[in-house]
């Protein structure tokens, strides 16, 4: 099963809509609740990161009998130092974004913790590509 969604950078009012759709789909597929919770956290954080840090993005979701694979590809400033970005507390969010309660530097650590496989590729001034894999039978 495959789904594709678009994300517009800067549009915080839309944050979470794709995660919400995926949550409904996974419920209908009778996927284990623990797995749904993990996937929803990871995708929400990835969605918000595109909105907060990039210009626009595309989410591709591929569900088969073994796993849920989510690819989030954005056009944006990219991440200069991925290891640093993965650290809890590291954030380049603007003060306006922080006032809203984003920018704690917890998003990428949340994604890492709630995925079985995480692959981040990024090019400065071009964009970032996240691959999040969650296995269904573990």
């Amino acid at each position: 099963m495959q789904f594709e969604y678009k994300i517009k950078g800067g549009d915080f009012s839309e944050a979470g809509t794709i995660s919400s759709k995926l949550k409904k789909i996974l419920k209908q597929l009778n996927i284990d609740n623990k797995i749904i919770k993990k996937v929803v956290i990871a995708l929400y954080e990835a969605e918000v990161n595109v909105i907060a840090h990039a210009y626009n993005g595309k989410v591709n979701i591929d569900i088969d009998t073994e796993k849920i694979e989510i690819n989030i590809k954005d056009k944006g400033p990219g991440i200069e130092n991925i290891a640093k970005a993965m650290e809890k507390g590291f954030s380049t969010a603007t003060s306006k974004v922080r006032e809203m309660g984003f920018g704690a530097g917890m998003g990428l650590p949340n994604i890492k913790k709630n995925s079985d496989k995480l692959d981040i590729k990024s090019k400065v001034s071009e964009g970032t590509n996240l691959k999040i894999i969650t296995f269904l039978n573990k």
């Binding site: 915080f12 009012s13 944050a15 979470g16 809509t17 995660s19 919400s20 949550k23 919770k37 929803v40 956290i41 929400y44 954080e45 918000v48 809203m100 309660g101 984003f102 704690a104 917890m106 998003g107 650590p109 949340n110 913790k113 709630n114």
Partner: protein, 112 residues
């Protein structure tokens, strides 16, 4: 204990979600950081926060939280209210600050 029992006992304002006040409460989480709530709050918890913007509804809904309690007399934004009605999330409010209301909720939940 249900959301409505806690709302009654602590005289909370009810901004929206009258229909979901019968949700059973199983804990509470106090935080103004969305990623913190996303990563750490448990389902069926109350969420105590000073945030009032629309994103709190998505977080509460995605995490299956019992209700949101906005502190210090703040009111949810207009679009937050609309969205909470759409998603069936209760938003409550109090004039008290987070520490005080969290303490009271802690005691109530310990009691049951």
């Amino acid at each position: 204990m249900k959301v409505k029992d806690i709302a009654e006992k602590l005289k909370l304002n009810i901004f929206s979600g009258e229909d979901s006040l019968n949700t059973e409460v199983n804990g509470a989480y106090t935080s103004d950081l969305l990623s913190d709530v996303m990563g750490n709050a448990k389902a069926d918890s109350l969420w105590i926060t000073m945030q009032t913007h629309i994103n709190i509804v998505a977080v509460a809904s995605l995490k299956d939280l019992a209700a949101i309690i906005i502190v210090k007399g703040n009111k949810p934004d207009e679009d937050t209210l609309l969205q909470s009605k759409k998603e069936g999330i209760s938003i409550l409010g109090t004039d008290e600050q987070a520490f005080e209301i969290s303490g009271k909720i802690y005691n109530l939940l310990k009691e049951k």
